[in-house]
Symmetry: C2
Subunit: 240 residues, 2 copies
């Protein structure tokens, strides 16, 4: 590219990185707040979680704009282009994480303060802690251009899945024990599913960080989500 | 922009439109097949649904590549830039639709041929028909640059939500009647949720088509998803 070393181009890239970092920080705080709201039936906090999503969406649009303008103006090649395409992809995953956290907030509002089974809530929180650690690590790996750390996140999906599977079993048993628990339990299952999917997006981001740094796409070697569907069947087979 | 009228640039844009159209066609077929697989417990079809997703993902990457190369090479402004950014956004929504359909395919495999409550399956199919009609209409509006038709899709979310709410009620009753139905029912609820979310993505695409044609973003006037959570609570309040 022609302007590789110009300060203007570096400033564009820095702005992109800063915005992605800001978006990541918001998504982390939003997820933590969503789980707090769920655990404490905190309707006011749930409303704040929903509002944060607008800020995340706005940041995604800004990242899209800066990316397009930068590509058009600087015509970057190779590593710089990867940097911009990578920012677009990460913003996309962070936006989805924001949506999933918002959805938990909406469910908290729908529950209207009903008390949830605390053992299951602890399971959800445990899952969220794991996912938040993944998210933090992958955002660090983006900030430091650390492909190794990204790989560690990319491979760390199993722990989340294990907690999710055991949580599904618990919630399931609770549902079987008393049909009146079904409403609450379905909300919990959807919340757990949302957090599991946030973890999937964290591993997507890890893939993108690896692509930015190494210029190669990772293969399909990583075990991936949606094992809860199988788990459900294993734990309690329905009628055949 | 400098090359607005060049054949090369027009060819780039045409290629983008063609690829988006192809992706849309695949997402439509994949969704229809996923619901067929669910209705008939057809494991072989479910496996094909899962495989289609790779083709959709590959097309998304190709659209991303063509977009970036076109932006860098032609430095388009205004309407042409909207065209490219729009293609990127639509590809993104279609990729999510593909993921959601794939997830239904995975659930069909997990069910291992267990018979589902046919009334609920009919509800899911009804929802899917509505969403497929939305998807077809919005892809047509993209092909014809028809902002009016896009607006119609954008406003057509309520029908899907109404079917989804009544379906949730049915599945819910079925679950309450016999806890042994819970596994199947949870799968059905997740499948219904996936289809509802496909409808959300169809309305996102409608928003993008409107943006491409009119250059303006639509406001937040459209009623949006996740009413099933409220519905659930209304239909059968759990313990408080």
């Amino acid at each position: 590219m022609t302007n590789h070393t110009t300060k203007a181009f570096d400033a564009d890239l820095l702005e992109l990185r800063r915005k992605v970092g800001e978006m990541g920080g918001l998504a982390e705080r939003q997820t933590a707040a969503a789980v707090d709201a769920l655990a404490h039936c905190d309707l006011a906090l749930a409303r704040r979680v929903i509002l944060i999503d607008d800020m995340i969406d706005r940041l995604q649009r800004e990242i899209e704009e800066v990316s397009v303008v930068t590509i058009a103006r600087r015509q970057p090649m190779a590593v710089d282009l990867r940097e911009i395409v990578g920012a677009l992809r990460i913003a996309n995953d962070l936006e989805r994480i924001g949506d999933l956290a918002k959805n938990i907030g909406k469910r908290v509002l729908a529950l209207k303060g009903q008390i949830l089974p605390q053992k299951a809530v602890r399971g959800v929180r445990h899952m969220a802690d794991l996912v938040l650690a993944q998210l933090k690590a992958v955002l660090d790996s983006y900030a430091c251009r650390d492909a190794e750390q990204a790989l560690v996140v990319w491979r760390s999906d199993e722990a989340v899945d294990a907690v999710n599977n055991s949580l599904f079993g618990e919630v399931f048993a609770y549902m079987m024990a008393d049909p009146h628990n079904v409403t609450l339990c379905i909300h919990l299952l959807f919340c757990a599913k949302n957090i599991e999917r946030e973890g999937d997006h964290a591993t997507n981001i890890a893939e993108t960080v690896h692509y930015i740094v190494e210029g190669r796409t990772l293969g399909d070697g990583r075990p991936r989500a949606d094992r809860t569907s199988q788990a459900l069947v294993t734990i309690a087979p329905g009628r055949s």
